[in-house]
Symmetry: C2
Subunit: 336 residues, 2 copies
Amino acid sequence: MSVTTKDVARVAGVSVATVSRYLNGHNVLDENREKIEQAIKQLGFRVNPIAQTLRTNRSMTVAVLVPTLANIFSMSIIESIERCLDQYGYSIMVCGSRGELAREEEKLRFVRDKRVDGVIVIPVGSSGSHIAEIVGDDIPVVLIDRVVDDVRFDAVVVDNTNAAYHAVEQLIIKGHRRIAMIAGPQHIYTARERLKGYRRVMSDYGLAIDEDLVLVGDYTSDTAYGLVKELMQRDPRPTAVFVSNYEMTIGAIGCLNELGIRIPEELSVIGFDHLDLSSVVKPPLAVVAQPRDEIGRKAAELLYARMSGDTTSFPSLIRLKTRFIQGSSIAEHKSG
Amino acid sequence: MSVTTKDVARVAGVSVATVSRYLNGHNVLDENREKIEQAIKQLGFRVNPIAQTLRTNRSMTVAVLVPTLANIFSMSIIESIERCLDQYGYSIMVCGSRGELAREEEKLRFVRDKRVDGVIVIPVGSSGSHIAEIVGDDIPVVLIDRVVDDVRFDAVVVDNTNAAYHAVEQLIIKGHRRIAMIAGPQHIYTARERLKGYRRVMSDYGLAIDEDLVLVGDYTSDTAYGLVKELMQRDPRPTAVFVSNYEMTIGAIGCLNELGIRIPEELSVIGFDHLDLSSVVKPPLAVVAQPRDEIGRKAAELLYARMSGDTTSFPSLIRLKTRFIQGSSIAEHKSG
DNA sequence: ACTCTTCGTGAATTCGTTTTCAGCATACAT
DNA sequence: ATGTATGCTGAAAACGAATTCACGAAGAGT
């Protein structure tokens, strides 16, 4: 059926061992090299990566495991990982955990059995013991976006706390006092960190936090829509709001548009993630932008280093900076 | 190192053949079944999928090959494919062709060598002969979003021509005559189809097409930004514009906002794709929405059927309907 | 001229499964 | 009692590569 090293060996008049050595870049007599190259070309030989993997336990594949594929954050990251690892000859296998621990475990077992050489994962929970247990020490792991608190892994994250801190600080500087926050689900690392940033800056500026203005969503657009609706019924209303992820920003803006609330005259708004947004919304939205490409690239580079046996400064926590995009959605607030 | 069928066989006191038969659901003496199950549990045995693939040439994996990973269209589709095939025990391997034919070929060869059981691809060009040549008849292929004109493949697409037709028709019905279109690159199937729809409806309504109002972009946001800027310098200006993909819609809206052009008072706008957009933009944008989940699901189901040996009505072309979201970005035009 | 390395080689084994094939029961029909 | 289905079994041969090992032919050193 398909052409194997055995065929190549036969045609070239050498043994399969020599063919194999040639393929793996070992030394081969020039004479044999030529005959082998000729035979390979003539037969259209391509090495069978499956057989290779069975024998060597290396697959030149890394797994990327994320809670959900269909959001811009995951996708940009997957794209940049693919681009980066492609250069080194690695391909990627993507899996969705759908935010379920059981599925995360199941997928990890699956890719381990598939002999992937490395794993990049956005963990669903704050524990990583199951990850360590499943992939063991054989397979390098790099966490993205979130860290776990019980196992030491390499990780690439952004400085969520500072990002939130600086964003809210902008509002404070402009005179806002009643600043609301649409927070994310507190079982998710980034959501906790961002809320922490909010609390910290409020505290640092000596502002009391009205807990009625801190609404906890679930990182989805629909829920945020409802929360903002609820928020705008507070009396007195907040004069500004910080929304802490992309999907929720979408929902929030949609709601405000529908309520006919003018930005920033009636409400100053800072969104999160996704640059496009800031230009599409009128007025241009101030947002916290994550360096998505860089996250993916750094994670891929780090994983590649680990897969190549480089264990320098393990575990290394790479914390990237976010960027604040000014926009025009923040108004000066004449304090009262 | 790892525990194999041989170990299971030894512990259970049967032969590896019997273990294999048990694993593949063949008949086995109840007595042996019990002993094997016990041994498997005791040893924590997991079948090695690589060895399985080597032997059977089946990997329970399908490849998804798209021009770019990092856009919402690709990702939604990949997500729904993953969800669907996950049920059947298949996992997916995603690859990006970056719109380059050479890379598409290279990736196809790669996944074929990896013994994927099926391929779902958004082809970069309008020819599919290289696809047929590389994957041959062994591996089922389902095209998505675009069709090729030289080979018959199963395909799942949307009715781009009608989508554009109906969208522009809305504008015509509201009295618009100077209707601009931001078209996509004409080497891409969907872009051609959408432009065709525009031309057809204009012709059907007996409207002359001002070629100065048909600007061809490259499906990217930045280019569309420039094109819209150019467009608005036309004299007389168009009274409406139809933008024919998501990224270009982003760029167009961004530009219009920046120019301070009021929608729909000064310009009626219809965008493309991505529901979120219609709510975030003020006023809510009229858009043509593609049934992204359905595209992915149908493609996955079809591929699954093919992989299972069902060749009913091959090749089948599934053409899905788009949905027109009304929005408030279209004004009545008092014709002059 | 002699041993001692070094280098490239081929035969054979291995990776962990599935599958073929003959063998051996047992059950059934005659 | 004999013959033939039927059902399950284990030994062995795949699948296609990498690797171990012993070996022969050079080259180096004395």
